[in-house]
Amino acid sequence: MLSLLGSGRWYGVDLSKRLTSAGLIASEGTLYPLLSRMRNAGLVETEWVEADAGRRRRYYELTDAGRDHLEAFRDVWVPLSAAVDEFMEA
């Protein structure tokens, strides 16, 4: 989820569809409590953006703290995931 948001600005519907199809969240709606929590933690910020024909869309993106958190996670995840792969192959 941090990784997805790390790639740029997302709006809720797209983000929830991506995460659901990847099997990371059970249903599209469960994204929103997670986003609210990340927002409370200061990792994500949200913004209403004027879209076409006067419609407004709510976008989410990582804050600087969120980016730091993502970096910290990558530092742990990449070697860990490589180690697990190695065990799985053995």
Binding site: A26, G29, P33, A41, R58, F73
Partner: protein
Amino acid sequence: MSDRPVWPEPVSRYLESVRREIASLPAGYRDDVLSGIEAHLTDSLADGLDPSEVMAALGTPDSLAGQAFEQYHQETASRPAYFTPRRIAQLVAFALMIAGLIFALVFPVSTEFRGDAEGVTEVIRHTQLEDRGPIVFAVGALFLVLAGVPLLLRGRAWRRTSIFLTVVLAVFAVAVSMVSTIGVLLAAATAVVALFLPARQNGRLHPPVAARTALLPPG
């Protein structure tokens, strides 16, 4: 949202149901979750999707509420707790310090005999304050600050400050013991805190633990 959308009947019933399920969550968090879901519905319906399909993909109000409560509890659980055994030890020590100060101000510790050759005519008992003067306040205030500051802190700052202040407290308690019996009480209070001082935490987390915690945003 500024312009409140008019929802089709099933959608408004769905939202009402979600709202009811998470009604007991704090307002800020609850409204944020709801506004995210409303935005999702607005956008999806504006894209011409079928409301019942959109709602089915969102999940039942029950499962959304379950997720909302879980996230909320994880967030509150990851916050450092205020009352830990160590903190309680510090509270006990702080209470002992206050008791010591009251003792110094109120209870007589020395006895003066006045009289003449005929014998003792007057027995006057003095408190610490009377014997030593206003310095009793100064020493008392110093101890209250030393014991009180850690009670106001949490997390890492708390640990470092507690260790430092306990050492200072111990030094002063020994010094006061040399000139006053109250020092014994202060030393006892210091010992209570020192017994519960946090051990040095391991700086590095075991990788799987680190990975698990990194998956979740910090509280």
